[in-house]
């Protein structure tokens, strides 16, 4: 068998495997030890460079430890050397599936520090695109989770929908993943002509297709056999680990900052937060799927509310936040995203600390993986939805 220990000595920092005490059972020629299996950093189930070291007895996992940092790109430090208007091009890259929601967080934080009034129309459009972005993100995880359970088809359907949404967003923002559409004080430009009509049509189309996922995945016998009761997360454990988003909602806790601490105009519309009961993999997936319908409801309400008017405010030549600090949290597709923005009055932030949902959510992985089988480990790992860039920043 290949021996991992040599490699670990070469890279001591990346290998916490030594912490495991592999127990040796039996004596003489029949000595056996538990197996240590390193899943990742390059493995199909981790979709990204994420590593998890499993200690296994046969196919049963007796210990698990996520090893993160392979994708660290130093966004927090980079942000300290960027103008406030430039940061948005950085932050929409840490969670590359929720670019719009990330840049929205930074824009809101800077605006709050500068005590800036943002035009109503801009706020409503931000909400509209943020909800579309949420659907875009969830579709990706619906496809990838099905693939992890061995069903290849939902991925293709999810990508068909994603393509339509990306096309819509591209018509307004010019980007497909990194939208860079928010600005301090509003939006880059107004929506193009016909956007609302397309958005309405697409909303109806996707609403028509959501039942397919219910039939194809959620209602599938084998899917239920693989996920119901697998990896249950009690609400108190989830809360103590800082788990948020669909993973928290699955445990039955409806904490969602769009409801509990509304930003933008979320206070003026009905926001439905779907919750699960048992906090198992099935509930996590169910919440994800139900959030698509919930977001479509929000989108339809926004279509009715969208006022006319300007979409941005005139900015001074030099955007400088006054000295001080603020913490702003938004409900990103994967959970609570927090930006701690501290300014010394200069052109760039003194410190930008990110509290990313994926980082907090993967903290639950060691708890969830203990005692499960390898196939279940994958079913659990895939249902704690995370983006590797969002963990490592």
């Amino acid at each position: 068998m290949s021996d991992l220990s040599t490699r670990e000595r070469v890279h001591p920092g990346s290998a916490p495997g030594e912490d495991f005490h592999l127990e040796i059972v039996g004596d003489g020629d029949f000595q056996t030890a538990d197996m240590k299996l390193s899943i990742g950093p390059a493995h199909p189930a981790t979709h990204g460079v994420f590593r998890i070291v499993l200690e296994m007895d046969g196919e049963r996992v007796t210990g698990a430890r996520p090893v993160i940092g392979y994708m660290h790109r130093g966004f927090e430090k980079l942000a300290e050397h960027r103008d406030y208007r430039q940061i948005k091009a950085l932050v929409n890259r840490h969670d590359w599936l929720s670019g719009f929601s990330n840049e929205l967080g930074v824009a809101l934080a800077v605006e709050r520090m500068m005590e800036m009034e943002v035009p109503d129309r801009a706020q409503w459009i931000r909400m509209l695109l943020a909800e579309w972005n949420r659907i875009l993100n969830h579709l990706m995880f619906i496809g990838s989770y099905a693939i992890e359970l061995g069903a290849i088809t939902p991925m293709f359907y999810a990508f068909r929908e994603r393509e339509d949404i990306q096309h819509l967003l591209e018509s307004a923002t010019g980007g497909r993943l990194h939208f860079t559409y928010n600005q301090v004080g509003g939006l880059k430009i107004d929506l193009p002509k016909g956007f609302l009509r397309q958005s309405t049509e697409l909303s109806a189309l996707i609403r028509k297709r959501v039942p397919d996922y219910h039939d194809l995945v959620l209602g599938n016998d084998i899917f239920q056999a693989r996920t119901v009761g697998v990896g249950p997360l009690p609400p108190e454990v989830a809360l103590s680990l800082g788990v948020t988003g669909p993973t928290l909602h699955a445990t039955g806790v409806p904490e969602d900052s769009r409801v509990t601490e509304p930003y933008l105009k979320y206070g003026e519309i009905d926001v439905d937060v779907p919750v699960g009961e048992n906090g198992d993999s099935f509930d996590r997936f169910y919440c994800l799927l139900a959030r698509i319908s919930a977001s479509l409801d929000i989108i339809d309400q926004i279509h009715d509310h969208l006022p006319a008017g300007p979409v941005n405010t005139k900015l001074p030549k030099m955007v400088k936040a006054p000295e001080g600090a603020t913490y702003l949290r938004t409900e990103n597709p994967l959970g609570q995203l927090g930006y701690w923005l501290e300014s010394d009055g200069g052109r760039t932030p003194w410190r930008l600390k990110m509290r990313t949902p994926s980082f907090s959510n993967v903290q639950a992985i060691p708890y969830l993986l203990e005692g499960v089988l390898v196939p279940d480990a994958i079913a659990v790992l895939g249902s704690v939805f995370f983006v590797v860039g969002d963990i490592d920043r």
Binding site: S2, A45, I152, F156, Y157
Partner: protein
């Protein structure tokens, strides 16, 4: 000594009227080998193409379109690509076992094509123990998979290989029990004989001719599920399970050896389907009780003339592809079972049902 061997071998080929049997034994041997090999390399590629296209259409995409007309040559292109790839053997691998494994997995599939009847008289050999031979030889494949899993010196491969071993042994049992039931009903183990028996099998007390799928629908279902599990096809693809085990026992294989494993899977899909067609679906008959054109006069199923023979081959291949279609459909529609669920399903559901089926058919055979 050589005289005896020669006569024994010659008596095999002279057993029944096969179109691949000639007066000269040497010519017969060459033709039969060419026949089996040709089928082995052509039919799985057709099945693979069908899988590509059907999966594509079911998944809102088009499948291969570039290589050849309508993408028909995609698998040929893939094969050429695989041949060009570097042949990597891991340093820690057990070299000889590692190299031999794909062959051990592939050759049994090739050998089974010797006994599969594809039409009236269109087969290489009609062994008296044809069914036994087919099932026995197909079990050898699992050795190749275990060898590959063990020799790769990779943990993922090892887990995959052991899963394959457990799964293939578990599903062998219901598969064989279902096949035995057919043999009991037909009263013969010869695959050609089973097809003939179906042509003359009447529902007890009536004059209605039916295939064995009707009295043995249970057995057919068991055989179909067990065959999918034997082939490690989704939803029973635990040994490969790409999202868990990277690619199971195939993880360390590259190039032509990897292609041989893939061909084993496609070939296996064809031969399991062909076995099902022979055992349950009346072989080359178009409908129960309807003889092929040209076959009426003889009363039997051979010597049907060119039209009848070609039609028979077409019907057999059509039925095989219909079964392949079902397997592809299952792959598209279902996620993968978990290893323990898989084992439970085999031992607690399929094996008892197969035994029940055997008992029922045995009793019915004696009573009627």
């Amino acid at each position: 000594m050589s005289e005896v061997l020669w006569n024994t071998a010659a008596s095999f080929t002279a057993q029944s009227t096969s179109i691949t049997t000639f007066d000269s034994f040497a010519v017969s041997v060459v033709v039969k080998i060419a026949f089996a090999l040709g089928l082995f390399f052509v039919v799985p590629i057709v099945g693979g193409y069908l899988e590509h296209k059907v999966m594509g259409r079911m998944q809102a995409r088009r499948g291969p379109v570039e290589a050849g007309p309508f993408g028909t040559l995609q698998l040929v292109a893939d094969g050429i690509k695989f041949i060009q790839k570097e042949d990597v053997i891991p340093r820690a691998a057990d070299r000889w076992v590692f190299a031999a494994a794909p062959g051990v997995a592939l050759v049994p599939g090739m050998l089974i094509f010797l006994v599969l009847p594809f039409g009236p008289g269109v087969f290489a050999l009609d062994l008296e123990l044809g069914l036994f031979y087919a099932l026995a030889i197909s079990s050898v494949s699992v050795l190749g998979i275990l060898m590959g899993g063990w020799a790769s010196a990779n943990k993922f491969s090892l887990i995959g290989g052991l899963r394959a071993g457990g799964q293939l042994i578990a599903y062998e049992l219901p598969l064989i029990l279902a096949a035995i039931t057919v043999a009991v009903q037909a009263g013969t183990l010869s695959l050609v004989g089973i097809v003939e028996a179906q042509a003359t099998f009447m529902l007890p007390g009536t004059e209605i001719n039916v295939w064995y799928v009707f009295p043995q629908i249970l057995g057919f279902g068991i055989f179909f599920l067990a065959a999918m599990a034997e082939l490690s096809r989704p939803p029973f693809d635990m040994p490969i399970a790409d999202s868990e085990l990277v690619f199971g026992y195939m993880t360390e294989y590259t190039g032509i050896k990897f292609a041989m494993f893939l061909l084993t899977e496609y070939g296996g899909m064809i031969l399991m389907s062909a076995l099902m067609v022979v055992l349950y679906l009346g072989g080359w008959q178009l409908l129960p009780g309807v003889p092929l054109p040209g076959c009426e006069g003889t009363g039997g199923l051979f010597d049907c003339g060119v039209t009848g023979t070609l039609l028979g081959v077409g019907i057999t291949l059509g039925k095989i592809m219909a079964l392949v279609f079902l397997m592809v459909w299952a792959r598209v529609a279902y996620p993968r079972l978990r290893e323990d669920q898989l084992q439970r399903f085999a031992w607690l559901v399929l094996v008892p049902l197969a035994l029940l089926n055997l008992a029922l058919v045995g009793v019915a055979k004696v009573v009627f």
